[in-house]
């Protein structure tokens, strides 16, 4: 074959495509029950691509934060069911893997601006099933983010919504917990509601922010910007260089610059 001649051939991986160098150790894995041989050290996601799949579902950020790639796996000969994010879990010998690209969850609509009851009452109305948790702990064992899901469910039941919001904060909404719950709870959608209601009604509002928005609505800053936009580059540079830097250790809400114009 008339191969294209290049002066220097460096077999480097391009982008996310894996080109194992010679001598890489090869291991067997099972993708949905089918055996394939892959080089060691790949993530499950890259292993699945390496054997020839092209993702449509089951792949999003590739960085462990979007929750698109929830995966169940077992090792051959081991009864234990394990979970992970495909983009964050390293493939090991004799893993039997299946991703869960979608799982139906319960998510009733709500209008955060017009709720009559207390947040806890509203939670009960929206998600009565949360209060039927049997405390089996399966969700906690399932969560690939190591969140104590059962605990945040317990906090919700008890009415400690702030606690539940904080405990569930790292949730990537992969849905694995919901897929295993014997009480058929969609823990993570309930937690989403709880976090929003906490951010809105339980955390106090930032007063300085409200004030600033009022100032903006007077058109005050648009006017300043218009003046800045009319300045030449040199004049802008001068203003840029001259601007005062707030010290790293300044006390928030107390510090004011020398130059109080343009605030």
């Amino acid at each position: 074959m008339a191969a294209k001649k290049k002066t220097k051939v460096v077999p480097l991986s391009v982008g996310d495509k894996t080109i194992p160098p010679e001598g890489a150790k090869m291991i067997p894995i099972y993708v949905m029950g089918k055996r394939y041989i892959i080089p060691e050290t790949l993530t499950l996601m890259k292993a699945i691509e390496y054997v020839g799949y092209k993702y449509t579902r089951g792949c999003g950020c590739r960085g462990g934060i979007c929750g698109a790639c929830g995966t169940f796996y077992r090792f051959e000969g081991d009864y234990k069911l394990r979970t992970g994010l495909a983009c964050q879990t390293v493939a090991e010998e004799n893993m039997i893997i299946a991703q869960l690209p979608f799982f139906p969850s319960n998510r009733p609509n709500y209008d955060l601006e017009n709720q009559k009851g207390t947040p806890h009452e509203e939670l009960r109305a929206l998600y009565p099933e949360v209060f039927k948790c049997v405390g089996c702990g399966t969700c906690t064992r399932t969560c690939p983010m190591d969140i104590d899901v059962m605990d945040y469910v317990a906090l919700m039941k008890r009415g400690d919504l702030r606690g539940a919001a904080q405990k569930s904060f790292d949730c990537v909404m992969c849905g694995l917990c919901a897929s295993r719950c014997p009480a058929q709870i969609s823990q993570f959608t309930a937690a989403m509601y709880v976090r929003r209601v906490t951010g809105k009604k339980i955390f106090p509002k930032a007063e300085h922010l409200t004030n600033r928005v009022e100032e903006i609505n007077t058109g005050k800053y648009a006017k300043m910007h218009k003046e800045l936009a009319e300045k030449g580059k040199e004049e802008l540079k001068e203003l840029y260089v001259k601007r005062e830097r707030e010290p790293d250790m300044s006390e928030q809400g107390k510090w004011l610059p020398e130059d109080k114009e343009n605030l």
């Binding site: 020839g52 590739r62 989403m192 951010g199 930032a206």
Partner: protein, 549 residues
Amino acid sequence: MSGYGEEFQKLIEAVEASRPARVEMAKRGEAFPALTMTQREEWLGKYHPDYKDEGRRAVKVGPNEGQVFPEEVSELLESKSILSDLKIDLSKPDYETDLLVIGAGGAGTAAALAASDQGLKVLVSTKLRHGDSNTVMAEGGIQGADQEGDSPYFHYLDVIGGGHFTNDPALVGAMTNDAPIIIDWLERMGMMFDKFPDGRMKVRHGGGTSRKRMHSAGDMTGAEIMRVVRDEARNRTDTIDILEFSPAVELLTDDNGDVTGAVLYNLETKEYYVVRAKSVLISSGGFGRLHIQGFPTTNHYGATADGIIMAYRAGAALQDLDSTQYHPTGVVYPEQNVGLLITEKVRGLGAQLVNIDGEQFCFPLEPRDVESACVIRECLDIEKGIVTPTGRPGVWLDSPMIDILHGEGTVRKELPAKYIQFKRYGIDISKQPMLIYPTLHYQNGGIKIGADAATSVPGLFGAGEVAGGVHGRNRLMGNSLLDVLVFGRRAGLAAAEHAGKTKGDGKLTLGHVTEFEKSLKDAGIKKPTVGPIILPDYTPDHVKSRQWC
């Protein structure tokens, strides 16, 4: 157990051997000499992907004809439509809507909500799931001048200075003016910002800020923003309809060339849908997954420049798209961390870049682009890089120096997230160095827009990373999350205004595609690739060569 194999352990010995001398030097306040201005230029020119002539070329057709872009971008700008060989019936739209949003990341979702507030019917087309995007990946924070000692005036100065005064002033004005409005909007939707007990926002400095105005939600600010806006969009089933796994593949125009709709493609059933819309917003994000010159990227799976390609065909002008942000220190090992960002802070704390022989080869705090060039040179030219088991080049970032210089425990205290991300794979970065290489991070330019997010084509709007101008040729951290929400919201409002003036009976044609493809022919482009590419292809060659279709 160490996450580094035996071979790496041996290589690390060279780093350890030279470390005491390097630490002593650092303690004496001596540093590896920075490049001179002439060297800088030379190295940038030779090694930085943005400056190298190699790998870049002028685009031969369209509104930006003659302008030089990365090869991968130029090739796609000169691509032909997926639809050109297909019979497609445009006479009966499958959907009719006031606003069609293409791309449901932060910008698209903000637009959908703003338009819905104005009573518009919104159809959202998105490639993956709602929210699978770059927005969800942002960790650092979002800027907004809401403290008493700060104001949108100073935010403006910071942004335009950071962008080397190449930014579009109208866009900078719009963004910094609206910033507190956006933060307030997120707060009212229940975003869990980091706050003091009395409700005051906790804010920090970022690179190039004169005031502390970086707001955060833990170290997953983007994810929290995305969760909240998506949840609110899902509450609006009466006005917002979301089509997942149904990316747009082409815009539709009327006889005047005004945009009147789009063709979507269902990735699962492979059928197309025709959409008629009074306004169309492109908010499809960046282009990291083009892997310009083979670089790894921090971007999500769907960042393939689709929106730019479609808009360009319809006649929308582009701005600054030749300017790309490469972050010098992206992880190349272990494989599961590839592309992951290592912040500048690590070098700020004293960690040095070291080659396979344990030698330092550049000043650790050169500007981002220069630092990237140094690393590329060391690996590909001098060949003193390290190659990982999956075939990636890289150099050492000697993080253990940090604890030696600043005291035991500094790494864990100052870099908790990174420490854990490596610890998970058996690597203790306070004791062992990291392997890094530059990574493709952010698309600085994009579709040219005005302060109302309108493009040069009537009926077509653009917002978010897909648009250019607001950051000029250099973006400061924390202004991108802000940009996408500000212009997303503005696009929604402008679309509402536009809808009031449009009947919504626009003719649906592919006239602009026919015309564009004629210009390809005229320019002598015989075998254009097909674009947009929708998803990157990571099938390895040993499989590809045996695939049937």
